[in-house]
Amino acid sequence: MNIALAGNPNTGKTSLFNTLTGSYEYVGNWTGVTVEKKVGVLKNKRGNLIDLPGIYSLNPLSRDEGVATHYLLYDDTSIILNIVDASQLERNLYLTIQLLEYGKPLVMGLNMIDVAKGRGVEIDDKLLAERLGCTVVPIVARTGKGCDVLAGKLSEQEERVNAPLVLDYGGNLEEAIARLTALLPADEKLPPGRWLALQFFEGNQLVKEMLTDYIPSSTLEGLYKETEHAVQSETKAKSMAHHIRKVRGNYIQALLACCVNDVEKIEYTLTDRIDNILTNKILGLPIFLLFAYLMFKLTFDWIGTPISDALDGFITGTLTDTLDGWLKAAGATEFIRALILQGIVAGVGGVIVFVPQIFILFFLISFIEDSGYMARVAMVMDKIMESIGLNGKAFIPMIIGFGCNVPGIMAARTIEQPKERLLTVILTPLMSCSARLTVYSLFVGAFFKQNQALIVLSLYLMGIILALTLAKLFSSTILKQQSSFFVIELPPYRIPQFRTLLKSTWEKGKGFVRKAGTFIFGGSVVIWLLTYAGPGGLNVEMNKSFLAMIGGVLAPILHPLGFGNWQAGAALLTGFLAKEVVVSTMNIIYAAPDLHTLQGVMADFFTPLSAYSFLAFILLYVPCLATVAVIRKETGSAKWTWFSVIYALVIAYIVSIIIYQGGRLLGLN
């Protein structure tokens, strides 16, 4: 049994999904966090729940929204679970009407019933259910109230056959619907003909594509034009879409008039007051920058670094000593001991040390998403983003990109304009992700002890400024715009639940831990072997190892950037796997027993200036393997994938050479 979970953005859809399936998905309080359809198994194991992206209507504007329509068109659905925000009933019911026209058994989760009550809105859910001919269950998805009842109702639906909701769209349109459905084959496993016809006349491109499989497109277009003309002269409506919207809107109005009792109208007063400050004319942008600064302070100075230091002490001290003791007791050979302690523990441990900082950063990003501030940031940034050929929404994938570029690039699906979306996809890798953070942390600890947060912030800003500059460049040359587009819903502010924040932090951060256990582990072994072996045999001196030879090839090219040694070359090469591998490689190459020794050793190979140049290069040089894969998938184009790799390399080289050579001219070396 497949149950499709559909609803407007920001209605608590993902919370409900988590409650019903027991597993956890990523929840965020800004439009479009669910970028792909996600499947979970119901707690009673009776069926699968498919979490579709939030949509206002089945007629999609963005690729993200298309996922939901596509699902209804081509996949096998038994039941639709429609989550509805009770405090926004009128708008939410618009989607419900379209889903009821689709004709599958529908269960409505009337969510945020508590918020609605607080606003003085009373809903007669029994009457609503009777009128719509579906099951309605009042719930509070955030606390789980009513969700058990809802789950029970879902299981009851299995055997039900539902007649689709039929509204009267007026003589001309009804006639055209009849004509179109008559053209459809009866035996095929298609969605209901009336629903297809209505969606087609509303201008749904995905439905049109499907219909052309059965009906010649010239016939379709002829019918469309003829009907549009007839409907316009009959109803004086501006377009067929307007007419259809109006009919549904009138039906909803009549429904609300009998089912809803609006006692008093309190409009978002708290949200208003918060917005007065956060989107203030003068203070809006500075406040955002202050939040960004606080985020970095918390991550590095106040909480993250002390925990990371403690963890480092544990790994290099207690853990290494204990392991060494066991290995000796077990009679392990010198080779095995070296492999485990200098290869795996140094390599993986070097990355694990940064887990606290990364989790704190993810926690803060989750907080911004869940609170509703993210949508405001998009709005505050829109003017700046528009001037470089993007829109405010493009800023959100970029912020998520600070955590990890992969979900950031996927979040770009909510951008409606294809060119703006492509531009966002290829520029998001310039956002400094948490993996790169590990490299910064290592270097700032060694070379910029006094100004750690400031140096790191400067790298983040460098990424942002370059992304904005390149956006302007690309959008006025190779990616010239059609008309730009920006409409964003500003959800009311909510205080995020601590439990939700913790889970969503773990969801985002677990990939990082998994990477440490898999290919950073494997990479560490390989890198260590390459340092242990050389043309002269095993256990060679590090400078005569295979890794030194490989890195040595790159050294002359890197020389003008200030880090022309084989160690840097080797670290950069391995960093393509994942940027944090750079740290593993350095730990192994410099054979440092702990973080502080490593930072001391590095002082022999880098000056503060060349270290900064190296960090800039790390920030920009090439998106990591996983990011390249997701760019390929999201753009569907090898050309644009290559483009994003090559432009990054070129920019990295130029920026680093300017930093290093410029710095030398200024006498900073």
Binding site: G249, Y268, G284, D382, E416
Partner: protein, 75 residues
Amino acid sequence: MTLTDLHAGGKARIINTGQINELVQRRLLDLGIMEGSVVSIKRILPLGGPVAVEAKGQLIGIRRREAKMIQVEMA
């Protein structure tokens, strides 16, 4: 008059959205904002930035340029 002629807090009824970009029009239609809807301006961002419009209890951000093309009358 147009939507941008309103002060923050001002209310008006939409009489024509025909001039704005078709995609914006469709999204507004999805949100139930069309001819006949009563809207109010909640916030105006500086330097020609977006405006926050309230309609039917929801808060929507749109660009100033689009707001300028929405014709309204006093409600």
